[in-house]
Every structure is written in C-alpha cells, then in structure tokens.
C-alpha cells in the first residue's frame, strides 16, 4: 500500500532518516503498522517524508503502485493520505464543526470559490455531524476548539484526519501526553475509525502498540532495525538492546 525504497533524509549532512542504506519500509493494505523507536529516531521525519511535508534527500516512495516521491503535501493528501500531528494542531478560534468542514472543503470543488458565501459549506453538514459523532464530539460542534479539553482536541485531530475518508492514516503519537483514561478512549476511537483503512502509527506506549498493531517497525537513529509482529520484534535482541530493554520495557 505504502512503500519506501532506500529512503534518506539529511539535514545539513545529519542523516535523520536512512541509516546505512536508506529505509525500506513496507506497509500492507489494511494493516495497522506501528512505528516505534527512541526520541529523535526519525519517526516524525519519516512521517514528514511519507506525507510530502518534506522532500527526501534520496530514495523513493510509492503509494499503491504509484510513485509519489517529491509530490507536495497537498497532492499527497488529496491522493488519500491523511496525517495527524504530534503536537495538537487545532485552530483555537474556529468551532469544532468548522474544522471538519475545512477538511471536507479540501476535497471539494468549492475550495477555490471566492465569490460564494461561506454558507455553501453547509453542504457538508451531514458528513460533518457523522464524523463528529464517530469521534464522540457530536455534542460539542459549536464549541470553540481552543476551549476543548486536551483529550477532546486530540479527538478533533482524529476527526480531521478521517473526515475525507482517506485510505491511509498517518498518526503521529495520538496518545501523547494523555492519562490512562484518555489513552483507553483513544485506542477505542482508533479501532472505530479504522474500517478498512491502512494505518501507520507512531507510538511510544507499548500497550497501545500491542493493542492496535498488526506489524511493528523499529527505527533507531534513522535506521529501520526490525520489522515484524509485536511478539517477534519484542524478542529481537537488537531491539531489546536498542530500545525496549534500555528504558521503556
């Protein structure tokens, strides 16, 4: 579904993603693929490459069989790859509903209209309500996003990601900064929005990884050191060395 070949990203000579030979990542259609690794391993950078926010220094990226290397982020988004951000990035001054409306607008021909009333976004009302109910924000549609609780903001983030019905979700630490209760709710939420979609998930919390992931890939210092089922990867000595054993077992 989503595949990279010898992917490398360097920042002024510093290789954030790539390791020795570049990253070969293969995400199968319909699976939930967790990307784990210590802080600074290059997980977010890899997401930036996959979503087109950054152009790779070398290597290739394929979406289905199509090469998407170097395409701009908005094109990749319109090809059905939606991402969430590690740091919550809702628009504080917008209403909850209008976040979802905005997402739907990106995929609608209304997006370039400038002599049409903003009320035309009412065309999305039904889908917006549906999405908000899916993520449990149905009753908060008219609330200002800045006034939401932390967990609700993360839920809104997920609403924006799924609204346009993308085939691939890139979720960067959806449970970051959450307490146990919110984490449980988020696991449940991700399972609910999954459908037949392919999910790539960056996650530090091993419990979340265990609950959600079909495949786990381990990134260390930009290098993909292991990829397999949770239990396989968990017992891989290099991984234990590099990561799980070290400080997060």
């Amino acid at each position: 579904m989503l595949r990279t070949e010898r992917l490398v990203k360097e920042f002024r000579g510093f290789r954030a993603v790539g390791g020795k030979d570049g990253v070969d990542l293969a995400v199968r259609e319909g699976e939930t693929h967790a990307l784990v690794g210590p802080n600074g391993a290059g997980k977010t950078t890899l997401f930036n490459l996959l979503s087109g926010a950054l152009a790779p220094s070398s290597g290739r990226i394929y979406l289905r069989e199509r090469e998407v290397t170097g395409l701009p982020a908005h094109t990749i988004a319109r090809l059905g790859v939606a991402r969430s951000f590690q740091v919550s990035s809702v628009f504080d001054d917008r209403t909850v509903r209008s976040h979802v409306d905005l997402t739907l607008l990106a995929h609608s021909s209304l997006r370039t209209r400038f002599l049409t009333s903003v009320r035309s976004l009412g065309a999305f009302a039904e889908r917006t309500t549906e999405v908000l109910e899916l993520v449990g924000l149905g009753h908060l549609g008219d609330r200002r996003a800045g006034d939401l609780a932390y967990g609700q903001k993360r839920a809104l983030e997920l609403a924006m990601v799924v609204a346009a019905d993308p085939a691939v979700l890139l979720l960067d630490e959806p449970t970051a900064g959450m307490g146990t209760e919110d984490i449980e709710r988020t696991i449940d939420l991700i399972q609910r929005i999954k459908g037949g979609r392919t999910i790539v998930l960056v996650e530090h919390n091993m419990k979340v990884v265990g609950m959600l992931a079909d495949t786990v890939s381990v990134l260390q210092a930009g290098e993909l050191i292991a990829s397999g089922t949770y239990s396989d990867v968990r017992s891989d000595p290099r991984v234990v060395d590099a990561y799980l054993g070290a400080h997060r077992a």
Partner: protein, 354 residues
C-alpha cells in the same frame, strides 16, 4: 432552548448589521454634501486601498509594504488608457486594476515563499524597484512631472463636476467593497484565515497553501488597483508619489487605525486620516506628520483592535454575550505574526526541492 436563543441573537445581529449597512450607505451617499467633494472621492479611494491591505494582513496574515506598487501601477495605467487610448474612465480604471493584478502575479509568486517581516521587506523591495523604473522610464510615465490632464469621459456626460464624479466613484468602490467582503466570507476566505494560524496543518489537509497566498495577493492588488484608478481619475493626474513607499505606509496606517480583520474598519480609518490631513493642511498647522502620528499612537494605545474593534466590542457588551458572529474571525492583528508552528513550516519551505 439554547438553539432558540442562538437563532434569536443571530437574527438580532443580522438586523443590527443591516441597520448599520443602511446607515453607512446613507452617509456615503450624502458625503459630498458634508465634506468637500474631491476629499470625499479621496476617502473612497483610500478606504478601498486600506481594505485591500486588510484582506491580506488582517485575514491572511501577510503584511505587504508594497501596495503602493499596485495603487501606483494602476494609477499610471488608468491615466495612460484615458489619455492615449481615450477610453471612458470606468474602463480605464478596469485596465488599471487588471494591470496591477498582472504585476502582482510575479511579485506574489516570489513573496509568498517568505513569511512575517521577510514578506514585508520583499514586497517593499519590489515596490521600490517599480518606483525606480517609473522614475527612469519618463517617456511613458512623465518622470518627475507625472501624468497630467487625465480626461474623465464617459457617454458624453459632464463628469468634470467632482460632485457627479463622486457618485460614479462610489459605485465602483462599492463593488470593490463587495468583492472584498464576499471573498473573506467565502470558502477561500476560510482557508486563508486557517492558513494564517497554521499553514502546515492546512497544507496537510490538502490545500495548496502557496496558491492560496498568491491568489489573496493578486486579489488584494486588484482591489488596490481599483482604488488607485479611482484616485487618478479623481485628481486627473498621477505622480511618482503614488508609487512611493509612503503610500503603502498610509494605507497600512488606515487599516490598522480602523481595526484589522474587520474590513469596515478600513473605511473608518481612511475617513479619519484623510479628514485629519485635510484639516491640518487647510488650517496651516505645520507639523502635519507629527500630529497624524500622535493621533495614530493615541488611538492604538486606547483601542488595540482599532476603532472598529472598539466599537464592535462595545456593541457586543451592550447586547450581552452573542459571540457567535465573532467566532470564525481571526483575532485583531498585531505587528507581523509569525506562523504558530514556524519550525514545522520552515522545514517544509527551506532548501527542499519539490
């Protein structure tokens, strides 16, 4: 219960809005009876100019210090069309505005790659370049003399009367106001407001951020061009001053004074500064600049959101809560707001080839 209250308050807002619009329209129609008609025309032109800056700055968060280029290019193009081609003045103004928009395309393509203060400096640099070219290219622009004696013809009527011209200008400028208002309240306007707060997020949603920025820039230049054309026909002449950076500064001052991200504040700000400068000029006070500057500072000291911001806040307080109308609007702009996740944005801009 709550819905009923919201609907009622929305309806009340709407009624208040229409009443305000009606009062404004009436005042606009009567303006040449209240002030000297050529001054009334100046107010119209500057109001639209300030509004064009507000669209870009107040809504999309891009502070252009180069709008003199669009005002001035349009003024020259309008004047040349009327003098050399003898086209009727409304058409000449359209020629001017289209010229301004065309000039804005390459400038916009370059400038939108920069942010905050850099955007401001780049637009200023381009405008000064155009000023320099106009100064040199005197066979076209008349150099220091500028263009003189621009005709004001249209279907054989007697337009030389500034009183009559005012009403034609009002119609043209009102169309410009409408386009400005409509576009900030359009789907595209929503995208612009959102990308000002978080461009990386908006891009990830699937919007081509650069294209929206360029579009906003060109639309703004077109409106600034209408303003410059109306002004040129009003004064029947164009000078290099129209291309000079102080013209941009004046427009920004009016937009900020009136209150950014309000559109109508630009009209108030323009009226205030034009009338103040006219009063100072006719009353023989020497230090025009210092007085205008002092008024500017005082108003912003007491009303951070500008005059319109203060008025609408007072009205909202008078009416009780009713926040709903303010929700989708950006907060009043302070000087050059950097994008909130500048880091993420920087990585997507930088040296990476797309």
């Amino acid at each position: 219960m709550i819905t009923v209250r919201l609907v009622q308050s929305a309806r009340r807002n709407q009624t208040a809005g229409w009443a305000l619009l009606g009062a404004g329209a009436l005042l606009a129609l009567m303006l040449p009876w209240l002030v000297y008609p050529p001054i009334a025309v100046d107010i119209l032109a500057w109001a639209l100019f300030a509004m064009s800056i507000d669209i870009l700055f107040g809504y999309a968060g891009m502070l252009s210090f180069g709008h003199a280029a669009f005002w001035g290019v349009s003024a020259y193009a309008t004047g040349l069309a009327a003098i050399e081609l003898g086209v009727p003045f409304p058409l000449a103004i359209l020629v001017g505005a289209v010229s301004a928009a065309l000039v804005a395309v390459p400038i916009g393509l370059v400038a939108v790659r920069t942010h905050g203060i850099y955007f401001t400096m780049v637009t200023l640099a381009f405008a000064q370049l155009i000023y320099y070219i106009a100064n040199r290219w005197s066979s076209l622009t008349g150099g220091e003399n500028g263009l003189q004696g621009i005709p004001r013809d249209f279907v054989g009527l007697e337009w030389s009367d500034p009183f009559v011209y005012y009403h034609a200008a009002l119609l043209i400028v009102a169309i410009g106001f409408w386009v400005a208002w409509r576009s900030v309240n359009s789907p595209t306007g929503q995208v612009l407001v959102a990308l000002r707060a978080n461009p990386a997020r908006v891009r990830a949603l699937g919007f081509s951020v650069e294209r929206y920025r360029v579009f906003a820039f060109v639309l703004s230049a077109f409106l600034a061009g209408i303003a410059g054309g109306v002004y040129a026909i009003g004064h029947r002449m164009v000078t290099l001053q129209d291309l000079y950076w102080t013209t941009s500064g004046e427009g920004i001052a009016m937009a900020v004074l009136g209150g950014t991200a309000t559109l109508f504040g630009s009209i108030v700000g323009a009226a205030l500064l034009v009338l103040l400068e006219d009063f100072l000029a006719t009353s023989g006070i020497e230090a025009t600049g210092s007085v205008t500057g002092a008024v500017f500072v005082l108003i912003l000291l007491f009303f951070r959101g500008g005059i319109w911001g203060a008025v609408s806040a007072a009205l909202a307080r008078l009416r009780g809560t009713s926040q709903d109308d303010v929700l989708e609007r950006p907060p009043p702009t302070g000087p050059a707001v950097p994008p909130s996740n500048a880091a993420e944005e920087a990585t997507t801009q930088g040296s990476d080839v797309k």
